[in-house]
Symmetry: D2
Subunit: 348 residues, 4 copies
């Protein structure tokens, strides 16, 4: 059996715990060895959960100790480029949560640092590892529905994102923080890159939540024209109040394919015909993508052990960021925006 | 176009209104022409709804006036034999609600009277006309799931039946009043007659409802061995509280077939992830079998116009009664009961 | 009971037969009395089906005979204005199939003619009468999901539309011919009018079908901003190959509501675990909206009998046409188009 | 963290691999340390899969080496009592696959040996750990559907069981080998023990499969009366051909609860309206109960670490065997059989 991959968690929040749980409980080849967070409280709380003794207030400190092989970065987006480049330069393989970064320049810096230092880079697009999404991708690949013509993806999340994640100046807003996965999914399943983007947004709940941020929106509807002529739609609603909702629908030349459903469990109860049937809904993203999170981290560990590139990487993360940037410009300027206005180099 | 079939409703209760509604609103060839009920209040109330002027307190009175071609009998079971025989002798075609009668002797009398007087006899097994049940029957007939091996049918109704319908001495109880359709369905779809019957019953709510009737039960679970070796299961729960529920599941040598579902409408709502998704359930039997009721009456009218036997008749009604009688004896004596203990003449 | 409404079918094609079927089989108050079609063959074929003796090659001829109270117009869109105005001037009440007309001027002419001649005008938006759509509208009205924020509606049809219906110069294309109902639905359920429209289209199958028409498209994805700030999405695919598909999803401030589903019948079959479960899909629009078609015509007949305005009329038809015109300009000019560029008078 | 529990697999077949997979990939506290099988070929094949070096042809040999804490027994039923008693006497904790044993005497011997030697005993009823089954149990416990009145459970398996598993003389047949879990589930969720059992069986496919075993059956329908007056139904079909199917439905005084569904994945595809929608079905039991298998083994390891009794043990296994024995006698003698004919000591 391959030797264990020693991993340093960079970030100690909710996503960090999801990955720590995968590593500790489901991935024998991955060894949680250290944790970094600038908040001593969060650092200790998460470290205690997993019995982690090596705790650092910065990645720099952790790199001095230098007893791990890879990092799992789950900090806020605006810190990604700095942390990832630093890790790459220290020769650490990188699992980087989405969104990749705030700008294409930052994405490029990360990609270059990984390449130049010979480290592997995997983006946290766990939907690519969800059993239903992967089965769907295989069906499309096999030609079961013919060439995709129109693909719709949605992510609706229950609660209001934190301030930095809803402010365009610190995060690119909900198009990035809520819809990152959708940007990746539609490009992946359409098998083509974006050509132009049009976005409409709405702010229905900002006032009620006391959000005064400029350009805040809680509903976004994105239209995409792909280079192959296909059409795409992404919708984001956050907070949507009713649960966690992530579904995709694809119409191909030969038929339709639906991925996912609102229902969170095959359990139905009825006690009142005036109310009707009640079925559990997915409450949270860790619940909906339980297997996806386990499998993506398992893939990362196996890629590091085998020294091969993960199947979702920097270019995929960069395209999602490009879509977000084009989309944001679109709703700010109320016009469709071409990707070539945003990207000089449409590498794929 | 054929001339109208003039129909006299015998019985003015809920089932009468369902059939009147079909005749008035959906079946141009059927003309509602008279109504009979021994309760003047019910008689007038239902007659008003449909603008019926010919109102009689007894079938005898109606037969004196004699200006209709057929009767639709929806009175309590214990009145069926007398009314149906009387109508037959007057040359009136008969649509008879289920259960056919209380005993096989009564069934035989009805069948003989219809035969001897040359009138048509249709039993009110509307599930034979439901779009889903008929599509399923066609699939089975076409061999899609192979020879049926095991068939399960259930009917759960929301409310407590009236006193006469829950007392073995006046109605054969819930096996007859709630499960009549199931008896017919399993025999129809299995394509074989019952060989022996075993029934378990339970009384969970009688006390709470103040029901003191001897041998009252509100749950019944029937096991059937068919003559072709197949197995059957019927469950009845009434009152079940939660809605109206009628579903069937068949396992054949090649596969499975499910008919119906709890869900009453393709409408889903969710506003609270702690509660989950809410979907309407069927509230009542007229709602679940809306098309079945229209189509069975349309079939009756067309058969009368064409002078041909309806596709579900006296023999079908008689078998359902035989099953009920065997089943009742089974739970009273706590043993499986063979149909040949009940029927000397297993005509089919 | 009210006296019968005598109806003249104008048009003898598929939609005419759907309405004739409703009138003959399900609506006692409506009497099919005459039929008009410029094709003698279609005229006679449909007339035979319903035993209609009064057959005319033009509405003018029928109006000379003048023995009906109302018209049901199902001819191609480009004939609507002329026929509807002619019928109005003759004092005939009008049931007019969607799309209402080709231009706002034509819509205005129809509305004015109906008003000036005191005749009723109902548009053929049968989804407003579908049990699931109406139940959903009641839930929204009751505030169950709060203020709608985002609404998505789709119509995918199985086959290639006829040449006139896919040519912008004769029909406004698929946005009008396939998505007319969606335009009405999103406006109805959002409770607000369109402010601006953005449309992306694609042509995937034109070549394979030998369609050389300029600006032909078989996929359309529409984004709508409503005046109340809400967002809307409409998708159209035709031919989609896989069945008839019409579904709506609404996210409100308090939750989500889904209307309809792919499944056409509660019937499931499985005989091969490599293939999986098989469930019927809706094959056609008359099948999906069977009750909607019956109920909309029943509503029309009752409105004529009672002399009251139908609940969906000329203004609704006009808004749908306005959306189509804005949407068409949008994809031709690759920019969002404001309704006030199209409509001088945004009457509602 | 607790020290690892060293486990010896006893049996190297399919179930052994399922548990080995859980231990190796998902349960850090469980260490796979040895494997036993009397077939050298099976022994080596499975050992290779998990890199196991300690391989024994008998449990006796393994006990001599004596470097493990617990056994996971997955051998055929007729070997269970001997192996479990032997392991208990050697002080090894026991995870024992269902069915527990062939007779109540064997069950008693196992229970006594575990008790007398102070070892823990868990039965392999993984449905007690399935997320949907446990959520349902919590709902029932909370009173959401009131007192259960009727419970139905089914297990249909795709392929013909091996010869020993379909012969009454070596295994108690399908009631034991296919329906073991159902016996446990209905008793667990009803919260009451069986009072009497009635079973009907059928043999539809034996001839086609060349099975000549006496009393072979491939369909079984069990009726249960519980001591609390509740009713139960268990159906077994094997081979059912169409997939792996395990579902439960419970009607309580206040309402209904459904657990599970035919559908194996939230993926729908349609390319042909004549065929309809296609959705994956569960193919196998390891797929359906993926989480259940992981969680039951995790529970066993944690109980061993903590020294506490597992939540499903010998008494539960013994009741399932008692049900099977009563059921077998029932169909052989064509009468309901009371549990007190089978069990002198109805311990619970």
């Amino acid at each position: 059996m391959s030797s264990s991959v020693r991993i340093c968690l960079v970030g100690a929040g909710r996503a960090a715990k999801v990955h720590a749980n995968s590593l500790v409980h489901h991935i024998p080849g991955g060894e949680l060895s250290a944790i970094v967070d600038s908040s001593r409280e969060a650092l200790n709380a998460t470290a205690e959960l997993y019995g982690l003794e090596k705790r650092y207030l910065s990645l720099e400190d952790a790199l001095v100790a230098n007893d791990f092989d890879a990092v799992v970065i789950t900090t806020p987006t605006f810190t990604h480029a700095d942390l990832a480049v630093r890790a790459a330069k220290a020769g650490k393989h990188i699992f980087l949560e989405k969104p990749m970064a705030l700008s294409l320049e930052e994405c490029d810096a990360i990609i270059a640092a990984a390449h130049d230092n010979g480290v592997l880079l995997q983006l946290g697009f766990m939907r690519r590892f969800d059993p239903e999404f992967t089965a769907a991708a295989e069906r499309i690949e096999a030609g079961d529905i013919g060439q995709p013509m129109m693909i719709k993806s949605l992510t609706h999340g229950p609660g209001l994102p934190p301030p930095w994640a809803r402010d365009l100046t610190t995060s690119n807003g909900m198009l990035a923080e809520v819809n990152s996965h959708d940007w990746d999914t539609v490009r992946w399943l359409m098998g083509s890159d974006y050509e132009r983007i049009y976005v409409e947004v709405a702010n229905f709940k900002g006032d009620a939540h006391g959000v005064k941020t400029e350009n805040f929106y809680d509903n976004a509807l994105t239209s995409i024209r792909f280079k192959n002529g296909g059409l795409g739609s992404i919708s984001g609603v956050c907070p949507c109040n009713y649960g966690y909702d992530a579904r995709v629908e694809i119409v191909g030349e030969k038929g339709i394919l639906q991925i996912g459903e609102l229902k969170g469990q095959a359990l139905v109860i009825c006690t009142d015909r005036d109310q009707g049937l009640i079925t559990p809904i997915y409450r949270t993203w860790p619940q909906r993508f339980e297997w996806g999170y386990i499998r993506e981290m398992k893939h990362f560990v196996e890629c590091v052990q085998a020294g091969i590139q993960p199947k979702v990487g920097g270019i995929d993360g960069r395209w999602a960021v490009a879509g977000v940037l084009a989309g944001t410009r679109s709703f700010l300027e109320a016009r469709p925006v071409y990707l070539n206005e945003i990207m000089k180099d449409e590498r794929n």
